[in-house]
């Protein structure tokens, strides 16, 4: 009886093995994702950030006013009538000109997040390619490319940015260019360092030995292996970008009215704080700090998840 049972089992097992199709592998990404998912702070931050992003995209549909419309009914008595309330339609209250703060915060969030994400993305992409090429090719090319980075690094960034904005006028594109001009330098350096150690690995030599062309090696082998560092760096660059934009806006050189950003809103809010319109600084500041905190926790989580020591 028992032997029959076992025989059946063996046959089933054999069938299973024969039918077994390609086994799916456990990539390093899968492992990293698991580690990340286990990090409570990082996961909460991810969801909160997601909520803010969704809010900035879809929140506008619930607004009762546009971001430039002036509510004449409350103009002049904003501290009394402009308080946040559901009834009046000013969910976040109104600013000192009687404009709806809800609409303005959403619009400001869009600008700030966009500056953060797009700026960081462009800086990271460019910096990664630049650093990888410089490090992999090495020699004289490397020296020239890295000296250029040194030179750009030596230029006082804010000074140049302010100059650009004064000369070419205030617009978002100028801010992108100005911030983007310097923010790739750090990542280029980090990536170059990593590339130098990667390029002596045997799998790179193996690729060279089979005749894979240089740029294909950089693209196929170097850059994917740098992704860990790049992602962590990128996630920390986003808040940097948001901060930089806010500082510029706070100085009054940022985006132009009626457009806003978190920096502009906070700057306006501080100006009117003494009149008792505390909500005017409270709401932008809340979004601003929440998002920054989220990014720092996410960056931390990513670093733990992608830690090269665990490879």
């Amino acid at each position: 009886m028992r032997t029959v049972f076992e025989k059946d089992k063996m046959n089933a097992l054999a069938d299973n093995l024969a039918a077994m199709d390609t086994v799916k592998g456990r990539s390093l990404w899968t492992d990293a994702r698991k580690r990340y998912a286990a990090n409570r702070a990082a996961m909460v931050s991810t969801y909160v950030l997601l909520a803010v992003v969704l809010f900035s995209i879809f929140g506008g549909y619930f607004a009762q006013f546009s971001n430039e419309e002036i509510d004449w009914a409350i103009l002049g008595s904003v501290p009394e009538k402009g308080q946040p309330s559901i009834a009046s339609g000013h969910y976040f209250g109104a600013d000192e000109l009687g404009r709806d703060l809800y609409a303005r915060v959403i619009q400001g969030s869009q600008v700030s997040l966009m500056v953060g994400f797009i700026g960081a993305f462009v800086a990271v992409s460019f910096g990664t390619i630049y650093g990888a090429v410089s490090g992999y090719i090495g020699g004289r090319v490397d020296s020239v490319m890295m000296r250029l980075v040194d030179i750009l690094n030596a230029i006082p960034f804010f000074f140049v940015l302010i100059l650009l904005l004064v000369v070419f006028g205030r617009n978002i594109l100028m801010i992108f260019i100005g911030v983007g001009l310097v923010s790739w330098l750090g990542i280029a350096r980090v990536v170059r360092g990593q590339t130098l150690s990667l390029k002596n690995k045997e799998f790179i030599e193996a690729a060279r030995a089979t005749g894979v062309p240089t740029f294909t090696i950089i693209w196929r082998h170097i850059i994917p292996n740098l992704m860990g560092v790049v992602i962590v760096y990128g996630s920390l660059l986003v808040p940097d970008m948001i901060l930089a934009e806010s500082v510029i806006s706070f100085l009054g050189l940022g985006v132009q009215e009626p457009q806003t950003s978190w920096g502009v809103l906070i700057s306006e809010g501080t100006g009117t704080m003494q009149y008792g319109t505390i909500w005017q600084i409270g709401f932008p500041l809340f979004f601003f700090t929440t998002v920054l905190f989220c990014f720092f926790y996410i960056g931390d989580g990513l670093r733990d998840a992608l830690d090269p020591k665990d490879r």
Partner: protein, 328 residues
């Protein structure tokens, strides 16, 4: 044996080393990693290259396939002098000359599946091949080296060292090369796995007529697989002979010392002899001894050895030795 496919003549490799505290304008020191080595390789033959670590054997092998720039000499592959080839023709040649590495895991890209890794040479040399054809080839070659083709989507870190080395061999085999350079392919593996990998290489060799250059730091590994063995010391060839005659009839004092140092089952046996034969450390290749490079450690060294560098002389068929005092 059949035709010679590879001819190496007086191959030298020098590296520039900056001395400590160097200024940009100080002349770099020259490190002679390989010094005028010559050999031939026939089709289907295995040449073992043996020497202590740091003797230049990996450098030699890499210079032969132009992975490192040589500073002198010539290498002829199937009648073509390869140092004169354009970048493009060199790439084409890489299809016929493959390499396997010392650290099996490190030689596989951790971000790629083994299917992608093994397919890479095909992708490089036959970009027009269809995906399904490529897939079939990858599966076939994996099967041949003893890896289940269903594992094609797994990642290198999911395999053991021996399996990784098999995958490395599969990658080298997939373009159907004529020569595989094996850079200490088994020294990072367990002894039992070493034998498996070596047997696999020997089987493949007899099946498809591969030539191998097989580098190792001890003679016992090389003995099994090689037809001929070259012994290197400090970048110089000291002895080159058929495998059998090298073991039974070694002439160079260094080779004798190496043979004596191969572990024997009885540890009390032969041990004192090694110490007598191989006293001292490897001298620095930046500042090698005058005359015979081995003289600082050689028990037979004489004044002649310090004065003149011994040239390789042929003694009998396929056996050459570089030593002034062969007869004693």
């Amino acid at each position: 044996m059949s035709a010679t496919i590879l001819q190496v003549r007086d191959l030298s490799v020098t590296f520039d080393v900056s001395p400590r505290g160097a200024m940009p304008w100080t002349k770099p020191l020259k490190l002679k990693a390989v010094d005028k080595v010559s050999f031939n390789l026939n089709k289907g033959e295995t040449l073992g290259i043996v020497g202590e670590s740091g003797c230049g054997k990996s450098t030699l092998a890499r210079a032969v396939i132009r992975m490192l720039p040589a500073s002198g000499g010539s290498v002829t592959w199937m009648g073509q002098p390869i140092f004169d080839l354009s970048q493009r023709n060199m790439t084409a040649l890489r299809r016929d000359v493959q390499m396997i590495f010392q650290d099996p895991l490190a030689s596989l890209d951790p971000r790629m599946t083994i299917g992608q890794i093994v397919a890479e040479p095909l992708l490089t040399h036959m970009p027009k091949m269809s995906r399904s054809e490529r897939d079939a080839e990858v599966r076939a070659v994996l099967d041949r080296v003893g890896i289940l083709p269903s594992m094609i989507n797994r990642y290198p870190h999911e395999f053991s060292g021996g399996q990784c080395q098999r995958i490395g061999i599969a990658r080298a085999l997939i373009t159907k090369p004529d020569l595989i350079v094996c850079d200490e392919p088994v020294s990072a593996l367990d002894v039992s796995i070493q034998a498996q990998v070596i047997n696999l290489l020997m089987e493949l060799q007899s099946e498809i007529g591969l030539s191998l250059i097989f580098i190792a730091h001890d003679l016992s590994v090389v003995k099994h697989i090689s037809d001929r063995v070259m012994v290197l010391y400090l970048g110089n060839m000291v002895e080159l002979a058929e495998s059998k005659s090298l073991y039974s009839n070694a002439k160079h004092p260094y080779t004798k010392a190496l043979i004596a140092s191969v572990p024997v089952p009885d540890p009390t046996f032969a041990k004192p002899e090694i110490d007598a034969l191989l006293a001292g450390d490897l001298p620095s290749p930046i500042n090698p001894p005058s005359g015979c490079v081995f003289r600082t450690r050689c028990s037979k060294a004489t004044e002649l050895c310090a004065r003149e560098k011994p040239v390789a002389q042929s003694i009998g068929s396929d056996h050459s030795v570089a030593c002034h005092h062969i007869e004693d």
